[in-house]
Assembly symmetry: C2
DNA sequence: TTAAAATTGTTGCAATTGCAACAATGGTAT
DNA sequence: ATACCATTGTTGCAATTGCAACAATTTTAA
């Protein structure tokens, strides 16, 4: 389940969004989503397109907190966007729906059964997000580049059941995700190849162990 | 908000738990919580005591995924406890309530308004958890020990508004949390002190910048 | 098509880190 | 009080890593 509106008909979805006073934004590439939002407590849904949650720390360094795709949700409550340290930047033309979180919680019309479904869907998505965060924490807890890579491989194969890993992003982005220097990662991948642990083809890594 | 039963009376809490066929376990120190659980999809609530979610990786290394205190919730859905890689170990005498997650989602008696409250509380807690995970990811994304410490300090002061940080755990545990070698951390803290950035007293760090 | 931009590969070198080993201190249980 | 265990501090050293700089390749946009 990846869709906030699972089990909710289009008609009911519309009703619900009206109840929640949802607004929809169509944003071009490389735009800040949050610039258009004035409420303090929101949940956003990526209807189409791609975006990233980016944090800029006190030194000006940026890290990608999360990749957002179609169906992804975000929000200050959900994804820690407090103050001006966080922003969400569209990576392509993106359609976003914004709902007011407090309004969502106060809406207590139990006659609306699709409202219950909606909350449950939200819960499921949010829990899945925790799983993903835990996985990343497990990776980042490894002290060497090699072990981060191996942990990443391990998680991938656990998910797909396959020893072939199709990288969902570029090596540059993988290095960011693993929080290691790209060139050092490149060196370590070379080592793993030389030692016969892996084989690489364009955008694909095959485990030989 | 930290309590799953916020705004729910004791009477309704009891009713709800009965509906959910909840079971309560009283476990001594250093016991595996999951050993006593047969269902596959559960949510656990720490009623009293302390525990830790621990992952053992394929090399046998253990990392602490999360500290659980009174009021904390956990579960395979919530906190990624899949297979035998994860376990929850009590750190003292601990009382745990277990509910069936699927039953929770299928329970659709909208007449029970406290059920809605329960779901909303659950949602709020889970979102808070994401915030915490994001914070840890931000810390672990830093490449040097110094920057991990400074990020940790930064987050602490952001939360409390104070330049005095009361460490919630020992230095040994802090090093684990930051995923760095304890002795190397000790060295870096000494450096920060010598350079006049911080001052330390027992269980307390004061920022001088 | 072609120029520009982004991604990838490579390597030397300095800096940081983990590791190991041990001393010192503090806390706890008997 | 004392023996035991956990936490903390310290340091040398080897290994790993980040950084910088540059070449090669691929992708993108005009």
């Amino acid at each position: 389940m990846n869709n906030l509106f699972e089990n909710i008909s289009d008609k009911n979805k519309e009703k619900l969004l009206k109840f929640l006073e949802a607004t929809t934004l169509n944003l071009p590439k490389n735009y800040s989503v949050l610039k258009f939002i004035t409420e303090t407590d929101i949940i956003g849904i990526i209807e189409s397109g791609k975006a990233q949650i980016i944090k800029t720390d006190y030194n000006g360094n940026q890290i990608i907190i999360e990749d957002l795709e179609e169906g992804s949700i975000f929000g200050n409550t959900i994804s820690l966007i407090s103050g001006d340290e966080y922003d969400i930047i569209t990576k392509e033309e993106t359609k976003v729906t914004i709902i007011d979180y407090k309004r969502l919680l106060s809406l207590d019309d139990t006659k609306l059964n699709y409202y219950n479904d909606f909350i449950k869907n939200l819960l499921t998505i949010v829990m899945k997000k925790i799983k993903e965060k835990n996985e990343r924490i497990e990776i980042l807890s490894k002290k060497t580049i090699r072990n981060r890579l191996l942990e990443y491989f391990h998680i991938s194969t656990q998910k797909t059941g396959s020893k072939i890993i199709y990288l969902p992003f570029s090596y540059t982005e993988l290095a960011d995700f693993l929080a290691i220097d790209r060139s050092a990662m490149s060196r370590e991948i070379k080592n793993l190849k030389n030692e016969g642990f892996i084989k690489t083809t364009k955008g694909k890594i095959t485990l030989l162990y």
